[in-house]
Amino acid sequence: MSKLGRVVEAVENYNRFVLDEVRRARTETKFGQQLLERWNRIKANTPIGRAPTGLPLPRLALPEIDEPGEIARYLLGDGLPGEFPYLNGAYREMYLEPLREEGSYGNEQEKNGHGKNGHSKNGKKGVAKLAETEEPTRLFSGMGLAEDTNERFHYLGAHQRSKRLSTAFDGLTLYGIDSDAPGVFGKIGEGGVAVDTVEDMERLYAGFDMGAPSFSASMTISGPAPIIMAMYIAAAKRRFGPSVVPKLRGTIQADIFKEVQAQNETIFPVEASLRFLADMMEYTTREMPRWYPVSISGYHIGEAGATPVQQAAYTLSNGFAYAEMMAARGIHVDQFGPRLSFFLDCGLDVEYIALARVSRRIWAIGMRDAFGAGTKAQMFKLHTQTSGRSLVAAEFKNNLTRTAAELMLAYMNGSNSCHSNSADEPFTTPSEEWIRLSAHGQAILLDESGIFKHTMNMLSGSPGMKAVERAVEAAILEEFRQIEELGGVVAAIEHRYQRSQIQNAAHRYEEQIYDGTRSIIGLNKYRNANEKPPKVELVRTPRAKKQIQVDRLKQFKKRNAAKAAKALDRLAAVAETDENCFPALLEAAEVCSLGQISGRLQEVVGRFRPMV
C-alpha cells in the first residue's frame, strides 16, 4: 500500500473514531459531563465585540448545541478554528478586526496563561497580535520587462502595510528559455515578466527591502524553479549581503506534479525535476526557515478543466507524494511539513462552498495519522485564486460579480491569502483600471462589509455546507482509491490518469455550456443580441522593449562568458552525481543566464517528454 492508501485508512478511522466518541459522550456520563463543561467554558470565554452600529457579537460563533454527543461531533469532527482537524480554519482570528473595546478573550486552548478576563501578564497580547496581521490580499502580476513589473509592484503595494508581491513570469522564463533564443522574440514579456539573469531579478524587486519581515515575494514558476530560486537568492545577496539569506520570506511554486498533470511547464524529465526540486527544498529548509519552497497547486488543475473534486483530490495526493519524497530523503516530517503550502482555485460550482474546508481536514488527518506529523505540519496553509476560467468575454463586466461571489466563497473557506482576478481576464494581462477594482473587491468584502471582520465562523457549518462537506469528502477519498489502485501518484501520472480525467471533464464542461446544462449569463442566457466587441485596454509589450531585453542579455553573456563556462561545467559535474546541486546552482546563477543553465542541465538529464 502506498502512503495514499494509508491516508484513506486514516480518514476512515478518524471518522469512525469521531462516531465512537459521540456514542461514548452519550453513554459515559463522566465523559459527557467533561465535554459539556469544556463547551460552556469556551462559550463563556468568547469575547464580545461590537459592530459599528453598536450590535454586540461574539468573536467566535458556535453551533447552538448542548448535548454531549453533538458537542463531541463538533469539537472532534470539525474542530474550533485553529484546532485539529482544522475544518473551520488553520488559524484563529484570521480576518477579524482588532477588538474595539476592552473585553475578555481567549480560551483554554491558548496556553498563554490567559486568566478569566484575558488580561494578567499578557493583557494586550491579543490586540497587539492582531495589529500585526497582514492583509490577505495578493495580486499576481507581471508584464513586460523587470522594471515595468517593478513599477506595478510599487503601485499595488502603495497602500499596504506589508509588501506581498506575487510574480508572474513570461512564457520564455516559464520554459527556461533565454530571450535571445531564435523563434521566440514575439513572446518576450507577454503574459508575465521577462527574467533571464540575476540582474533582471535585481531590477524586479528594486526599491524593496528583501530581508524585511514586512516583505515577501511569491514566484509563480515551476519547471525551472530551482534556477529562478537561485537567481532570487543571488540578487538578494548582491543587494543586501550574504546575511540576508536566512531572512528571505516568500513562496516559489515549484510544484512539478501539477505541471505534468495540468500546466505543462515541465522542462526536465519528471525524475530529474523532482530531484532538483528536492535539492532546493533541502537547502531552503536548512538555510531559509521562512521560505515556502513549494506551493502545492490545484489552481492549474481546476483551470485546466478538472471538476472541483478532481482538483482537491489530485492536489492533496500530490502533497502527500511530496511528503513521502522528502521523508524518503531522511528529512523529518516536522522539518519540511510546516514549509508546505497549498494553492487552490475557487469557482462558482457548489463544491466550492466547502472544498477548501474538506481539503484542510483531510490534510491534517493524513499528515498526523499517516505521516506522524506534529501540529505545524498538519496545518493546510492556503492561498486561493478566484477562477479565471469562469470569467468570460461576453458582457465581460459581469466578471466583477462572478469574482465577488468567488471571493466570498474563498473567505468562507478560510483562505489565508487570496488573489482576485480582474474583469478583463479573458483578454489581457490586467490593465490598471481593472486590477484596481479587483483589489478593491477584496477590501470591500473584508474591510468595508461586516461579513468577516466581527466573528470567526460567521458563515461556517450551515446544514447545506455540511451536506457538501460530506459529499465532497467521500468523492475525494474515492479518487484517492483510484490513484492508489494505479500504484500511487507517480504511477498514475505515467498512466496519464490525471491528465485524461481532467481532459474529459474539460470537454464535458464546454459541452454543458453549449447544451445549456450550465448557464453562463451574457453568453448562453440573457445574451445581448447587439453586443459589440468590447473596448479593453491591452497590455502588450512593444518591440522596442523586447529588443532591450535581448540586447542586455547578450551583453551579460559576453561579460560573463569565461566565468559562465566554468560555473556550467561545475554544475554539470555535480548534476552527474547524486550530490545536492543547489550550491552549484547558486554559483551558476551569479554569472549564467536561465537558458544557459537549463540548457546545460538538459544535456545531463534530458528534456521533458510531453504527455498528450
Binding site: V184, A394, P426, P610
Partner: protein, 385 residues
C-alpha cells in the same frame, strides 16, 4: 466512403494552454476528423514541417500567451515559402485574440479565427464545410511533399474501398527496395510492436536521437499508427511525445488504423513500400499496442522486427501465448528499472531459447536519458550485415 479529413493541431512555443485544444481535438475526432496533434510549446517550423509531412488539409492553432499575430503569420509565411500554401491555417485563443487582431491576421493569410464563446459544433461544421474536399493547386514542389501526397493517395484509395493486395512476393519486393536505396546496403526497415504501455514510442524516439547523432547525414522515415474505428476520427498523438523526431532529417507519418485489427492500417503495406523505395537510411514502423496473438509484421518488407515488452506481463504462462516472441528478431524488455524486470528478462530468455533461433534480448529504460540499453539496441540495428 469518403476518406476522413486530416488536420494538424498545435499550441505555439512557450505556451502550455492546451485545455481548449484538447477539448477541440476530442470534439473533432468524435465527428470523424483525424487529428494529428503536435502538442503544446511548439515552434512554427516544427508545425509547418509536420503539416507538410502529414499532408493535412489545415493547421489549427490555439494560442493564449500572446504574440499570436506574429506567430500565426509566421506559420503562414513558412507554408508559403515551402510552396504548401494549400494548407490552411485557422485557430483561436479565447479573448486574447481581439477583433482587431483577427482582421490583421486574416489579412496576413489566416483562414479563420474563432472567438471566445463559439460553440464546439460551429468549429466542427466549419472544418467539414471548408476542408471537406482537398483543393490542390500546383504540383508538389519538393520531393518531401510529393511523398506526403502520394501517401495520402494510397490511404484514401483504401478508404474509398480499394481491396488489400495479398501479402506480396518477398523476392520482388526486396529487389525493388534495393533499387530505391541505391548504393547504401545498410538501409533497414525496422518494425516495432508490443503491448500498449510498453514504451514503444519513447524507445523509437530515443533511437532516432542516437541515429541522428551518430551520422550527420542519416535520414529516417517513421510510420506510426494509432487505433481508429471505421467512420470515426482518430487522435494521432505520437508526434507530441516524439520530441527528437521533429527534425529536418526525419520524415514522420501518423496513420489511423481505420478499423483494421492487428495494429496496422489497410494501407500500411503500400505506404511502407513507398517509404522503403524512397531515399531513407532507416524506415521505422510502429504498430499500435497489440494483444498476445498479434503478428502484425507479415510483410516481407521488414528486415528486422523488434518486440517491446513491459516487465509486468503477468504470469510466466502468459509468455507461451505471445506469438511475436517466436517471430521477433529482437526482444526488448523496457522499463527494466521496475521491480520485476530481472525475473521478466530471465523468463523471456528461457522462452526464447526454446525457439532455437538467433534472437536477441535487450533490457532498456527508454525514459532514462542516455540509457545504455538503448545504446545497445542502436548498435544492433546499425550493425553492418
Amino acid at each position: 466512403m469518403a476518406a476522413p479529413i486530416r488536420i494538424l493541431t498545435a499550441v505555439p512555443i512557450c505556451d502550455g494552454h492546451d485545455s481548449a485544444i484538447n477539448t477541440i481535438n476530442l470534439e473533432f475526432i468524435r465527428h470523424g476528423i483525424e487529428v494529428v496533434y503536435l502538442g503544446y510549446h511548439r515552434y512554427a517550423e516544427d508545425i509547418v514541417r509536420a503539416a507538410i509531412q502529414e499532408d493535412v488539409r489545415a493547421i489549427g492553432i490555439s494560442s493564449y500567451n500572446g504574440g499570436h499575430v506574429e506567430f500565426f503569420a509566421e506559420v503562414v509565411r513558412l507554408l508559403k515559402k515551402q510552396g504548401a500554401d494549400d494548407i490552411q491555417v485557422f485557430g483561436g485563443g479565447g479573448g486574447t485574440i481581439t477583433h482587431e487582431d483577427q482582421k490583421v491576421m486574416e489579412r496576413r493569410g489566416v483562414d479563420k479565427i474563432f472567438f471566445a464563446g463559439t460553440p464546439l459544433s460551429e468549429m466542427v461544421e466549419f472544418v467539414h464545410d471548408r476542408y471537406g474536399k482537398a483543393k490542390r493547386g500546383k504540383k508538389a514542389p519538393t520531393a518531401e511533399m510529393k511523398l506526403a501526397r502520394k501517401l495520402t493517395e494510397i490511404e484514401d484509395a483504401y478508404a474509398k474501398g480499394k481491396k488489400k493486395r495479398p501479402t506480396p512476393n518477398a523476392k520482388r519486393l526486396t529487389s525493388n527496395r534495393k533499387q530505391g536505396s541505391g548504393k547504401n546496403n545498410r538501409k533497414r526497415v525496422i518494425g516495432f510492436t508490443g503491448p500498449g504501455g510498453a514504451g514503444k514510442t519513447t524507445l523509437i524516439d530515443e533511437l532516432v536521437l542516437r541515429l541522428l547523432h551518430r551520422e550527420p547525414k542519416t535520414r529516417i522515415a517513421i510510420l506510426s499508427h494509432d487505433p481508429s474505428v471505421v467512420g470515426e476520427g482518430a487522435l494521432l498523438g505520437d508526434r507530441a511525445t516524439m520530441i527528437n523526431s521533429q527534425d529536418e532529417r526525419v520524415f514522420m507519418r501518423s496513420m489511423a488504423t481505420r478499423g483494421q485489427a492487428g495494429g496496422l492500417s489497410p494501407a500500411t503495406e503500400d505506404c511502407l513500400r513507398l517509404l522503403a523505395e524512397s531515399p531513407f537510411d532507416y524506415v521505422i514502423i510502429e504498430t499500435v499496442g497489440t494483444g498476445q496473438e498479434a503478428m502484425p509484421f507479415r510483410s516481407k518488407l521488414i528486415d528486422e522486427t523488434v518486440l517491446v515488452m513491459n516487465p509486468d506481463y503477468g504470469a510466466r504462462l502468459q509468455l507461451q501465448k505471445i506469438v511475436m516472441l517466436d517471430l521477433a528478431d529482437i526482444v526488448v524488455v523496457n522499463k527494466s528499472d521496475q521491480d520485476r524486470a530481472r525475473t521478466a528478462a530471465l523468463e523471456i530468455k528461457r522462452r526464447l531459447e526454446q525457439n532455437k533461433r538467433p534472437q536477441k534480448l535487450i533490457s532498456t529504460v527508454a525514459k532514462r536519458h542516455r540509457d545504455r540499453g538503448v545504446d545497445k539496441l542502436c548498435d544492433l540495428l546499425t550493425e553492418k550485415k
